[in-house]
């Protein structure tokens, strides 16, 4: 059979979501000869639709369906209706991502063993280790064209990076460079090299930045074995009497309900929508939600310890020129409990334009304290702090008790409390970030609070034992043989690194697992 597929064709693998996980999985399945339909809730916006303009681009493709928040995290106060920045479009959040692509450190797959029991944290070891992941990381790095791998040179450092580097050198940090980025430093795989446009968060106009939209999905479609159906929001996953999934119910662009049959279903809607969909798929056979016999669906929500440090200098910097995430300091990523917390964090340059900086520099602030900072915009440098946060059972995506979406389904609530360890790490990171800038003459620094979550993880965690989590080491639901989870929600723990390289590696690995199972006739 070839794409497009009939809705009654029950031989297809249905993938829900076309982002880092779903877009990669769908393409890799198709490349391996498997008939695949990706259902994507958002529309399809190609490169010509991208704008170098922060708010219009945000409004155009972000997931803005209503969500509520609770918990002590500052995001619930500053952005009560926007817990996360996730894209609703073909390509998912890879359209807006910055491109930082780092492998986990070996101990991060064994967080419980390494950090021990930490009060309040639901730490667990991953059922896989770095050794097992290495070939998949290598394959992903090649596919994504990650700089500093596969003989691809690093990107040149922009002004924002050069400030960071000078500060890092002064502080004696040893691992500071322009990062491992899924951005072409030179033309590769039919995509151009980076022109230092500086709007990586708005969709890359040159195609230098990897996304599933420009890199994976076209490859999958070229095989004739992949159909990407945009404006198709899955509402429910259906199953038969034996407990096997049979297909999905989705709303098309006119809001009409359609049913797509499937041989297997792979959920990749990111860590808020994926558990929400499983919970909304409750039935008499699975009263607590699909794949939820462990009660772990939606729990252990992680969003990385984050924060930013911006600094003002007495001379110009122009941080917005060139790649948004232009460099990294990795020295603090290690696990070194003498710092007063478990696990580690990365420091990565970041730049926001005036429109976003006004909203995010110090949400709620006003008066000269704030406007005088904005006045120094050209003289600013910035970095983002991103580290491993502690999984906690109570941090969870749950279904709202009363509020419903346009399709009549309960909206999600996102609950998050910072763990003591997260707070200690953030304070350390604020101090070190400011020290980097102070070392090169900053006249003022700002410990900027977290933005809405861009790294959403852990809500369908992977576990060795079915009682501890939702999916096994392949991302297959412990409870349902032909149901898979294929996005960042499978993360058992968060690690310090930006998650996407690991999401893509796991998706590639899962595609080959599905292919093997199909070949053996067990799927």
């Amino acid at each position: 059979m070839a794409a497009p597929y009939d809705k009654n064709d029950d031989s297809v693998v249905v993938v829900i979501g076309s982002g880092a996980g779903g877009g990669t999985l769908g393409a890799e399945l198709a490349i391996n000869g498997i008939d695949t339909v990706i259902l994507e809730a958002g529309g399809r916006h190609e490169t010509e639709d991208f704008e170098n303009d922060e708010w219009p681009m945000f409004s155009k493709i972000s997931w803005l369906d209503k969500r509520t928040t609770s918990g002590s995290w500052r995001v619930a106060q500053d952005f009560a209706g926007l817990p996360a920045w996730i894209v609703k479009a073909v390509g998912g959040s890879t359209v807006h991502w910055a491109g930082a692509s780092l492998r986990f450190q070996p101990h991060e797959f064994k967080a419980h063993t390494t950090y021990g029991d930490i009060a309040g944290a639901s730490l667990l070891d991953w059922p896989i280790d770095l050794k097992e992941m290495e070939p998949w990381y290598a394959k992903a790095e090649d596919r994504m064209g990650v700089t500093r791998t596969n003989d691809i040179p690093g990107l040149p450092g922009n002004n924002n990076f050069r400030i960071m580097k000078a500060g890092a050198d002064k502080l004696g940090y040893k691992e500071c460079h322009t990062g491992r980025m899924a951005i072409n430093s030179q033309p590769r795989h039919d995509r151009a090299g980076c022109q230092q446009i500086g709007f990586c968060f708005q969709g890359c106009k040159t195609g230098a930045k990897w996304s599933t939209l420009v890199a994976e999905i076209p490859k999958g479609e070229a095989t004739g074995k992949l159909e990407v159906r945009p404006n198709a929001q899955v509402l429910k996953i259906e199953h038969d009497k034996s407990g096997k999934v049979t297909g999905v119910l989705y709303a098309d662009k006119d809001g009409n309900q359609q049913r797509q049959k499937a041989r297997a279903v792979c959920v990749a809607g990111n860590s808020i929508e994926s558990p929400r969909l499983l919970l909304n798929s409750a039935s008499s056979m699975f009263p607590d939600g699909l794949a939820n016999s462990s009660g772990q669906v939606g729990r252990n929500y992680m969003r990385h310890m984050t924060g930013s440090v911006y600094a003002v200098f007495d001379k110009p910097v122009h941080m917005y020129r060139g790649t948004t995430m232009a460099g990294i300091i990795m020295d603090e990523a290690k696990h070194d409990p003498t710092r007063g917390f478990a696990a580690g964090y990365e420091m990565e340059t970041l730049s926001l334009g005036v429109p976003f900086l006004a909203a995010f520099l110090d949400p709620g602030a006003w008066g000269r304290e704030f406007s005088s900072a904005m006045d120094m915009y050209p003289n600013m440098a910035g970095m983002w702090l991103v580290g491993e946060d502690m999984p906690q059972e109570k941090n969870a995506i749950t279904l709202h008790k009363s509020e419903k979406d346009a399709h009549g389904l309960p909206i999600p609530n996102v609950h998050f409390d910072d763990h003591e360890n997260d707070i200690a790490m953030r304070n350390h990171a604020y101090r070190q970030g400011a020290a980097v800038y102070d070392a090169v003459g900053a006249t003022r620094t700002f410990p900027t609070p977290p933005y809405p979550s861009t790294h959403n993880l852990g809500t369908n965690r992977m576990s060795e034992k079915p009682g501890d989590g939702v999916v096994n080491k392949w991302g297959q639901a412990h409870d349902v043989k032909n149901l898979f989870v294929s996005d960042g929600s499978v993360f058992t723990t968060g690690a310090a690194e930006n998650p996407t390289l690991t999401i893509v590696s796991l998706a590639l690995r899962q595609a080959h697992h599905i292919k093997d199972r199909m070949a053996k006739g067990t799927l």
Partner: protein
């Protein structure tokens, strides 16, 4: 380094009229037009006096001494538009300004937009900063003010760059003092 010209691309007359941290000087004509220095607005929903006070309040919330009043007036036009579409918003803004003026009368025997020192006006604002009225105005300004391309220029932000070939040949790494 390639520096950015922060000077606004406006006429000399407008620059002269822009007038720094002084009070926003606005008068209301009998026809209901708010006349400022080099700007004028005809509010669609708000009382002209309310509009004028909101312009002053906007400057006090995000004071930039090189911004002309017209930029704050443009931001307030967004509030006026919201008030036109929603009676609740209109009431919130009208009542909010009344309360603010009453507080100014009590403390200084004059309406808010006549109080001479910025600090005195800021003290009045601090007292209401948790109120929905203040939050509405401040929240709106985040985009209403800072998302204006003219404001970007004044803050030294260059905006769109793809059509100019990005910064690869335009100073992405030209820092010369580090």
């Amino acid at each position: 380094m390639r520096l950015v010209d922060k000077r606004p691309k406006v006429s000399r007359r407008e620059v002269l009229a822009a007038g720094g941290a002084a009070l926003v000087a606005a008068t209301v004509t009998p026809a209901g037009v708010v006349m400022g220095k080099a700007w004028a607005a005809t509010p669609a929903a708000l009382k002209p006096e309310t509009f004028a006070t909101l312009v002053q309040m906007s400057r006090d919330i995000y004071p930039h001494d090189n911004f002309a009043d017209a930029l704050y007036a443009t931001a307030v036009e967004g509030l006026d538009k919201a008030a036109k579409g929603d009676a609740g918003t209109k009431k919130l803004l009208e009542d909010g300004v009344s309360v603010l003026d009453a507080a100014a009368q009590k403390a200084h025997k004059m309406p808010y937009d006549q109080v001479g020192w910025e600090l005195d006006r800021v003290i009045l604002l601090r007292a209401i900063e948790k109120d929905p009225f203040f939050q509405k105005v401040r929240g709106h300004l985040v985009t209403g003010l800072y998302n204006q391309p003219k404001v970007w220029t004044l803050l030294g932000y260059e905006g769109e760059s793809a059509s100019k070939g990005g910064y690869i040949d335009r100073g992405f790494d030209d820092i010369n003092w580090i």
